[in-house]
């Protein structure tokens, strides 16, 4: 009886769940921001120390920067009195009216005012070209490449330098300045350095002794001399050897110097990529009967360039910042125009220099960070193949 009762009880207790139990959240200690903090910031003693140090650094630096740039900043004013503590009787941060007044100068330099629309059109054309090339879903990207590498350089030259036949007076390059110079120099450097760099890298790995020797000498010579020396030589020594009429334009000298420099560094970056490609890829390509250029274009370079993207972008960012060296040949790039403006007695205050340099920092940060973000996205896109 009891047995059967027990049996019955067992069978009655026997239970098959019809529906799923509602999912329980993980224990409180394993979720939420606290768990994230514990996991990521405070997991080991070393981690704890680092977290505290970095937090202190932030607490020390960020409020000061925010205070200077925004809280204490002066937003409007006519001259230096607006940004002087003794006049305003308060603590003074960044002097923005100085920047507003000098903004056209930072953008165009001494470019003649009636002709500045040409620079605006150039900026617009360049933005269209960059957008067309970099936005992956843009229509007709093949046309975009033609536009960027053929139409844009010619149109920019006609616009910026001038073409009296169609009514655009010539604007001498010594009047160019500010963002215009920074953008022109870095665009030329970026556009020319990669193709020249690839050719040099292939040349350095070539079996043809003459080509190889030339590439090695070029790369090693250029890398062995500081850019500043080359620019200085070009601006000071060249006019001594060539009569004035034949000596090339100063900006052109700087452009050639910077493009050659970037190309030499780029060549080494690309060579690293080429060396990382397994020999089997080359042999396979040759085995199916591809010519040297087909092999490079279809098999080797796409892989080599893909793995060198971080280094290519690194070189580009370095190049972008190196463009400030053109001030040596008397051309006022963005940084130099800021340095000039901060000397202007009209705005001479203790905060003027700092404000000017903050503008330069923000400008370079936006551009360099933009380049680096785009490169990260490209890397992620190309790396999908490997993840599968």
């Amino acid at each position: 009886m009891t047995m059967s009762e027990g049996d019955l009880a067992v069978t009655e207790l026997h239970f098959v769940r019809g529906e799923m139990v509602a999912q329980q959240p993980p224990p409180a200690s394993m979720r939420g921001p606290m768990a994230w903090v514990r996991e990521n910031l405070l997991s080991t003693p070393f981690n704890i120390v680092m977290t505290i140090l970095i937090a202190l650094l932030f607490i020390w630096a960020v409020p000061e920067v925010v205070k200077f740039l925004f809280v204490d900043a002066v937003w409007t004013g006519a001259d230096r009195d607006a940004c002087r503590e003794v006049v305003q009787h308060r603590e003074i941060g960044a002097c923005w009216p100085f920047v507003w007044e000098r903004l056209p100068y930072f953008t165009y330099g001494s470019y003649p005012i009636p002709e500045r629309w040409r620079v605006d059109v150039f900026f617009l054309l360049l933005a269209v070209g960059i957008g067309w090339l970099l936005w992956l879903n843009a229509p007709r990207r093949d046309l975009g490449a033609g536009y960027f590498f053929v139409v844009l350089p010619i149109a920019s030259f006609i616009l910026l330098h001038g073409f009296p036949l169609i009514g655009l007076p010539v604007v001498d390059t010594n009047l160019w300045g500010g963002v215009l110079v920074t953008i022109v120099v870095s665009a030329v450097g970026i556009v020319f350095s990669l193709p020249i760099g690839i050719v040099l890298a292939l040349g350095r790995r070539s079996n043809m002794p003459a080509v190889k020797l030339f590439s090695v000498i070029f790369i090693e010579f250029v890398r062995g001399v500081p850019l500043i020396t080359v620019l200085f030589m070009a601006s000071v020594m060249l006019p001594l050897f060539v009569p004035e009429e034949l000596s090339p334009d100063k900006l052109l000298r700087a452009l050639v110097g910077i493009a050659m420099f970037a190309a030499a560094y780029m060549a080494e970056v690309v060579r690293a990529g080429l060396q990382a490609i397994p020999k089997g890829q080359f042999e396979g390509a040759m085995a199916v009967g591809l010519s040297y250029w087909q092999m490079m274009r279809l098999i080797v370079l796409p892989q080599a360039l893909k793995i060198t993207i971080p280094n290519i972008v690194n070189t580009y960012i370095g190049l972008f910042k190196d463009t400030t060296l053109v001030f040596i040949v008397g051309i006022f790039d963005l940084l130099k125009t800021i340095e000039v403006a901060r000397i202007d007695p009209k705005w001479a205050t203790p905060v003027t220099s700092t404000t000017g340099y903050a503008v330069a920092a923000i400008f370079y940060l936006i551009f360099c960070y933009g380049m680096s973000r785009y490169a990260r996205a490209t890397e992620a896109r190309l790396a999908k193949a490997e993840k599968r």
Binding site: N174, V236, P239
Partner: protein, 336 residues
């Protein structure tokens, strides 16, 4: 080694060719004057918010262009650093150099330059706090002085203190900017540099009215335009453009009254403005060369006032740069 020597010799030939050429003709054919200047010194050469160059040195360049072309805008300003300014002039990259350059014997001789005059008598001075209650540099005996290192300023400072048996405490900095910042922060009692620069730096201090520039000038820094050796006509032109500006101030000819002055019966004014004689033609210019200068740029006093004097934020006293008959050193030989 031999090849380098040959190369340099060739370069020498080019250079001497460049120098012996007729600069005036070259400039006229080119249609624009190439002028080497300083793009980064307030009051002497600095682009303004519109990108237009302004300054005392810059206006001397404009005056030369005005005399040649009757158009003060036909100047291409080449920004030069202290290091490459002389090479730029020697190589013919610029036709004249007006870049707050001190006239010294070695520059005038071995560098192959000719200084055409002095457009600003500068000298090393001291900036001190008013609260220090010092009225003369001779009272700086126990004071510490901020100075940019590796400059002639630093050497002049040591010489001056030694000559007057004063104890010197210098605090040196790599750049002028750092030295000024340190002075403003109270690291030293005084800051020393060229007096013309002191007025500009003073404006950048937290409370500029609490600081004064002491009257003592402890070094001679005559700043002036320079041309290459070997072209006497060009040397004469640049020299007399500056003289014309000084003479115009002395004769009371300004950019405003120059047209009325053309009717003047004063023989000095008549000769200067070309209503009598042919002094402009003798220079290789036109009869009205000085009229063009004064009308388009101004006389010396106007140019001084507009760029560094009371009409500018720098508010530098005329001091040594007053006319000779007002107690200064600015003196121009007569036009006759």
């Amino acid at each position: 080694m031999k090849r380098i020597a040959i190369l340099l010799a060739l370069a020498g030939i080019f250079v001497s060719q460049g120098a012996s050429a007729q600069t005036l003709k070259t400039v006229k054919d080119r249609g624009i004057l190439n002028c080497g200047s300083n793009g980064t010194l307030a009051g002497f050469g600095l682009p303004d918010a519109q990108g237009k160059w302004t300054g005392l040195d810059v206006d001397v360049c404009r005056a030369v262009a005005a005399a040649i072309f009757n158009d003060a805008t036909k100047v291409k300003f080449v920004a030069l650093t202290a290091k490459d300014r002389f090479t730029a002039l020697q190589s013919g990259e610029v036709d004249l150099l007006v870049r707050n350059t001190t006239w010294t014997s070695s520059r005038d001789t071995s560098l192959g330059l000719n200084f055409t005059g002095v457009d600003y008598y500068d000298g090393q001075g001291f900036l001190v706090r008013k609260s220090l209650k010092v009225n003369s540099a001779l009272e700086l005996g126990e004071a510490s002085v901020c100075v940019q290192q590796g400059t002639t300023t630093e050497l002049n400072l040591a010489d001056y203190f030694r000559a007057h048996n004063m104890k010197l405490k210098t605090v040196t900095f790599a750049t002028a900017n750092e030295a000024v910042k340190a002075y403003d922060a109270g690291r030293c009692d005084s800051y020393t540099s060229d007096a013309s620069a002191l007025y500009g730096e003073r404006l950048r201090l937290a409370n500029s009215n609490d600081h004064i520039v002491l009257p003592e000038i402890i070094s001679k820094e005559p700043l002036g335009p320079a041309v290459r050796h070997g072209d006497d006509q060009w040397f004469d032109i640049v020299k007399w453009v500056l003289f014309a500006m000084i003479n115009a101030e002395e004769a009371g000819v300004t950019s405003k009254n120059v047209d009325e002055m053309l009717k003047s019966t004063n023989p000095d004014v008549k000769r200067l403005l070309g209503t009598e004689g042919s002094y402009g033609e003798q220079l290789g210019l036109t009869k009205d060369w000085a009229v063009r200068i004064v009308k388009l740029v101004g006389n010396y006093g106007e140019v001084f006032d507009r760029n560094v004097g009371m009409g500018s934020p720098l508010k530098i006293e005329r001091g040594l740069n007053k006319l000779w008959n007002k107690g200064g050193l600015q003196y121009a030989p007569p036009v006759r």
